[in-house]
Symmetry: C2
DNA sequence: CGACATTATGACACCGGTGTCAGACGGGGA
DNA sequence: TCCCCGTCTGACACCGGTGTCATAATGTCG
């Protein structure tokens, strides 16, 4: 047998028509059980596999989802945010369970392909990760909506379409951190992250944090806020600049674990002890949080559940073409370790 | 316009035949420059995208590669080995650069789909990660070879086909660790990992390590070897069992960073100081190695280069159907940090 | 001005399945 | 015996492109 076997080959050897082969292999009730057995047996012997391209073409769908991971172009390209990688793992598993394949693509702002996967029929739907850090994300969303592309997004809100977003309750997470620091009596806080609308997740964390502090009579001074993207280096630099300006604080909230880890390095270099002089809390609960020095207190996001919901909501969207899907906001959980004792 | 535009729609509006549209959009020299401009313009206006399924079906290829990541079923399913994730990042980028899409799939030993992606024409070739830890990998390789599936593999050797493997020079990496410990005068070594053929990468690391020590008159006692898979917990347990048996050593080589990190935890719990009492060295240089307590000395594998070579070799294999591709063994690099000073 | 090469285009078969439709076949009831 | 119905199967159009072949239009040269 040259090349791969086709359904015509199977038909030939099983002594039936090609139509019957197709029906038999896909469990149609129209085919006689005895015939089916014969077809299945021949197919197995010839190691026959349905050609996905042909089947997708005819069926006008691809049984495939795509994940587009947006990377902040200002961050180091060689290191991918481990938080998204861990989400990727759970998305992959959820896809497999649903019988879908998963295409993975790393996007940078330079390319504009966001809808390509769907429009070229390579994927039935798209999952967006990291678009909260995308400068111009609302306009991207508009283009996706316009072309009727099925998509769901982690973190960033799609205006007027809450059902397209799965996110952590960032505001609540920030509040948990505030409560924890209040309990410790450490209310003179610095914040490293981003309070602007460019970064909806970081600013939600900050707002939840600041509001809860305020409710207790404390407040975060503008001077104690430094801007950083979600990398260790950026957190380090931002904290260093605070210290260089001789700004004092007894607690520090990093908008992500990577930022917090960088902040700890800057603090330690400046001779400050964590947590003795400064309590530090991060956000994400990356694996590394458990192992760093000192082990980092942080707010855990349930990436496993998040991945499952992204996939489930997207499939729902594809199946029901746009009917109501509930907004999905996941509860965060505070994990206290040595960095804030 | 209902639904997506097809090349016939473009043809209609541009006043040419469908054939010409196809040629024009794919840069055939057969079409008049003026005609091409018109076609391209109409296509852009109608937001036309080539249907990948149709094009793949006709061309009998998919412009897609698949990554199969094998997970040790005995390890915690929710946490994916960060080493492979980082490789995944560089593979994705290399694919994108070559104009290929990437399918990602996590395999467990229970499913037997290894060749499915290729045989169903979903992917032109397959990249195997983590198959060195696969109990029965040679038989899987045989099936892939038999079905003429194009594939390359990280780490594990395919018998008689060195061109299908890209790997780190694990033996040399082990030797680097040995040399480093010899310099420190720490030759009473423990090894945590796997010295059996079940884990070709770990055992190569061990062999390179042991041989170099032997050449210096030192030697690793059987009693100081404990078996572990590549997780923090497993490294912790293995080290704990050594200590429980009252086995002494002044250096420890963990076959991976995760193992070494678990080992450090076990040592510290037992009241041993790292590196004062025991020098610890790992393997991989995960991001976490820089941040753990104390920062971990380790052997760096160049995942960026590795990913690029896997993709390049695979594409080569697909293009030249089986002609010689050089075996690719990448040089490891010792990174000394506080854990072995 | 006719033979011939060159360029640009259209018609059409084809990739390998899926779904529809028509019809063969056997059995039961009138 | 004839008709009807349910069960099972085959023929065929179709999905949306790609590549081949034939041909029209234009230009070249003797």
């Amino acid at each position: 047998m040259k090349g791969k076997a086709t359904s015509f080959d199977i038909a030939h050897y099983a002594g039936v028509s090609q139509s019957t082969v197709s029906r038999a292999l896909r469990g149609s009730p129209l085919v006689n059980e005895e015939t089916r057995r014969r077809v299945v047996e021949v197919a197995r012997k010839l190691n026959y596999k349905v050609d996905k391209n042909a089947s997708n073409l005819r069926a006008q769908q691809s049984s495939t989802l795509a994940v587009l991971l947006f990377e902040d172009p200002t961050s180091d390209e060689s290191q991918i945010n481990p938080f998204f990688l861990s989400m990727l793992g759970s998305i992959t598993r959820a896809c497999a369970k649903a019988g879908y394949d998963l295409l993975v693509s790393f996007q940078s702002s330079s390319n504009d392909w966001h809808a390509d996967y769907a429009e070229s029929h390579r994927a039935d739907g798209i999952i967006l990760l990291g678009y909260g850090d995308y400068m111009d994300y609302q306009s991207k969303f508009e283009r996706l909506l316009e072309s009727d592309t099925k998509f769901v997004c982690w973190g960033a809100n799609v205006e007027g379409r809450p059902e397209l977003t799965v996110s952590c309750d960032n505001s609540r997470g920030g509040a948990l951190v505030a409560e924890h620091l209040i309990e410790l009596g450490r209310t003179d806080c610095a914040f490293i992250g981003d309070t602007s609308h460019h970064s909806p997740e970081f600013s939600a964390r900050f707002n939840g944090f600041a509001e809860r502090l305020k409710a207790h009579g404390a407040h975060v001074s503008e001077r104690k806020i430094a801007t950083a993207i979600s990398t260790e280096e950026s957190g380090y630099q931002a904290t260093k600049s605070l210290l260089a300006n001789n700004i004092k604080f007894n607690a520090l909230f990093g908008a992500s674990d990577l930022i917090a880890i960088g902040a700890i390095r800057a603090l330690q270099e400046a001779g400050l002890r964590v947590p003795h002089d400064v309590s530090v809390v991060g956000f994400d609960d990356l694996a590394v949080a458990r192992f760093c020095t000192p082990p980092l207190s942080t707010v855990q996001q349930n990436t496993t559940l998040a991945g499952q919901m992204l996939v489930a909501n997207l499939l729902n969207l594809i199946a029901k073409q746009g009917v109501d899907v509930a907004s999905s906001v996941l509860p965060p959980q505070l994990i206290v370790r040595q960095s804030s004792k």
